[in-house]
Symmetry: D2
Subunit: 130 residues, 4 copies
Amino acid sequence: MNLTEHTITIRVRYPEVDAMGYLHHSRFLQYFELGRIELLRASGHNYAELEREGVCFVVARVQVNYKSPARYDEELTLLTRITRQTAVRIDHAYELRRQDVLVAEGSTTIASVNRQGQVIPIPDRLGKPS
Amino acid sequence: MNLTEHTITIRVRYPEVDAMGYLHHSRFLQYFELGRIELLRASGHNYAELEREGVCFVVARVQVNYKSPARYDEELTLLTRITRQTAVRIDHAYELRRQDVLVAEGSTTIASVNRQGQVIPIPDRLGKPS
Amino acid sequence: MNLTEHTITIRVRYPEVDAMGYLHHSRFLQYFELGRIELLRASGHNYAELEREGVCFVVARVQVNYKSPARYDEELTLLTRITRQTAVRIDHAYELRRQDVLVAEGSTTIASVNRQGQVIPIPDRLGKPS
Amino acid sequence: MNLTEHTITIRVRYPEVDAMGYLHHSRFLQYFELGRIELLRASGHNYAELEREGVCFVVARVQVNYKSPARYDEELTLLTRITRQTAVRIDHAYELRRQDVLVAEGSTTIASVNRQGQVIPIPDRLGKPS
């Protein structure tokens, strides 16, 4: 069954923080990507397999609002939700928290492309989320 | 004299591309940061010095539209522009190109904070851009 | 009780692989660092706390032999062992495996320094490993 | 003409330093890789092209001695030298300096492989260094 949302925990790694001791703002996009991949996995799919089949998800748009810094070794929770899905695109929304504190929220649009970068339909088995 | 825009060239490094051979979408934020820092330097300022004085610029918001993939070893040009500046915040816009092709465009808001993360005025010498 | 060895599992993340689809060779050092930190944690210590107290572990030497590539999404196991400990230095050895296959083996020497980078004794509570 | 050594300058980027404000020890391997690639380029070759032809250089062994920390925004010079070359392998040595101060020295062995990871001869045009 294809899920529409999933939560993971991520511990901030040492090389991910910057000289201020804060998780570097570029790393949030890597965490969001982990969130998407684990949402797929929780639905029984595997992104590595999709790529081997020639289906690649490329990021077309991102937007992040940073609310509170995250520091080395903190354990964060990331909620990833599908907010919209078309034949070739998926929109996700993200909430990254340290316990009750909102660290960041964001959204992305990903597009399904082949190895040549041409837009192709999202495989049927990823379905419409239910 | 404080500049409002500046262009740099960046060559895509090997560990910055992903398994598709594309510059990873999170890396664009690191390129934009380079653009801001070099815009500062071209205006006669130095971000490392600012941090030693206790003035840190943290990213409060980012937004990126990805238009065309960039690949390993390609030489890109990045135009960084200040679009708005208040007492404590600066908005930048970015255009990343491979020759005439637009690779991505984006925008950020950065805020001036002290080492404790409290918002503080941007130092006078960074002035209003002219 | 201070342990002399500890094993963790690490799943290879997408931005950690390069254009060949292989875990980039520089990332192994980041995995070894995770191994050291989790070995500390398994012994009841916390590296973030040590740093707040002014005790920093800097890497003085590394050596890695790469045996077999690791790919995106593979789950690896990392065995981290203390092989020697003096008043101010710790030597570790590492074995990174994908099931039975040896992916890499390595060793490091870390030194205990204060925030000014001067060598200081390793805190007593980290003791001689037993 | 194939060169045996080449020097480049590298400015330390913000996301490359850690919470201590030091260039992270894993980043040195990425700098060494830049050194190898620019040594190739200075000899009239292009690593991206080699990969498109199916010739990939994988790292089989690294060794680094860290002598002095490097900090954000410092401009470093990296000397890369070929110390030995066989039909399928090249050994390099590296010296990373901040002006006269030795920041690190290291060495690597790279092997020439095809896309399936099988060892293949280094293309003739890369020749024996002269």
